[in-house]
Symmetry: C2
Subunit: 232 residues, 2 copies
């Protein structure tokens, strides 16, 4: 008896909580997963080490890191060291927004998916407990899906590459509960915008705040090491 | 008397004939041009030297080269040295197609446009005398325009970044005539998929063939140095 070939998926993996959960969900549904991380000059280099550990722990078939030098474009507190990461809530789109980041990462994933003949791309964006970035919204995913159909060899030849955002409607607490059910070790993940070289989170930035509140709401112990124990 | 501020545009510049003409047209129409080249691991590294010379000759305000390591994804004769560049006509989408290349380059241009607060991105794609790539067609540009409106801070805040493809309906001969009128020195440009380290064109690949035929049809002397003088 032969088994049907597995659906092949490129999974964007940042090293954070959301994308780790997206990878665990893709693996649970039987996908053969190719994890892709983008080294874009982020402050939080520790993310990439975390991505590698997560890819291995969750059984990705392969993990690849692509270098894209977005720091030379600047314009974000995450890539430009002259802009501070805010430690207080802000209104509107925050300075941690990296211009066109998800567009660029999905584009590279699209290229790799074409090479691998993968039929899906999974991205762990979330439009509930998030930082207010334009490229985390359902309409962004729909627009990229439309582009992917038109831009690729697969699309022209009648196939298609499907863009999946399985976390888009989940709260942070729901995401954490799903990951815990699937055995995700969140201790391997890093969410902080300015984690130190040991991977310790600042405990003060927007991403730390959302993560902390998520674990509290899910009733799950937070394995994160925070430098600042309390939200100030 | 004060002048109104110039429209700021990011212009994708490959070092080839088309994008040089697109830059010349943008300059003629009074744009303040920020030229962007992507070093994606192409075989034809000479392109990047050409892009720099073209940016300077045509008065770009700035020229930036962004490194994106697409060679580590592979899948194209332009980035993978184990795949030969064809020297005969092929049918369908050729092996010189770089998966998702224009999607990736427009995405990076979108990021830089956001940082610069530029309101336009110009790309020299052409759907008449071209190699049959899916990401050179008008419907691709329209799909990216739609994405750009949704993906960016500018789009969310009510502005928009307009994607311009001024050459899309022109024949190669029309493009060359327009460039000659604007004083473009095509001797600075390189089209060949496998130019040597001196910038000399092979004279045999699809891109050389289209370029040669374009100069002939335009009745303009071709300044290109071809290693192989005749199409074989």
């Amino acid at each position: 008896m032969t088994h049907p070939p597995k659906t092949r998926a490129v999974v964007l993996l940042s090293g954070g909580l959301d994308s780790a959960t997206a990878l665990a969900l893709a693996r649970e549904s039987g996908r053969e997963c190719y994890a892709l991380s983008v080294a874009y000059g982020q402050r939080h280099q520790f993310e990439l080490n975390a991505a590698q550990a997560v890819a291995q722990a969750l059984g990705a078939r392969e993990h690849r890191v692509i270098l894209i030098d977005l720091a030379s474009i600047g314009g974000s507190a995450l890539t430009d060291r002259s802009i501070d990461v805010p430690t207080e809530a802000t209104t509107g789109i925050p300075v941690t927004y990296v211009p066109a980041r998800n567009t660029i990462m999905l584009s590279v994933a699209l290229g790799w998916a074409e090479v691998l003949k993968a039929t899906e791309i999974h991205i762990g964006v979330n439009a509930v407990d998030y930082s207010g970035y334009p490229d985390c919204r359902p309409e962004f995913i729909a627009a990229f899906q439309n582009l992917a159909r038109i831009a690729t060899k697969a699309g022209v030849e009648g196939g298609a590459i499907s863009i999946r955002a399985p976390l888009i409607d989940l709260s942070k607490a729901d995401i954490i509960r799903a990951g815990v059910r699937l055995g995700v070790d969140y201790g391997l993940t890093v969410s902080c915008y300015q984690a130190d070289s040991l991977g310790r989170a600042c405990g003060r930035c927007d991403s730390c705040r959302i993560r902390r509140e998520g674990f509290a709401a899910a009733g799950v112990a937070d394995p994160t090491t925070y430098v600042h124990k309390k939200i100030v």
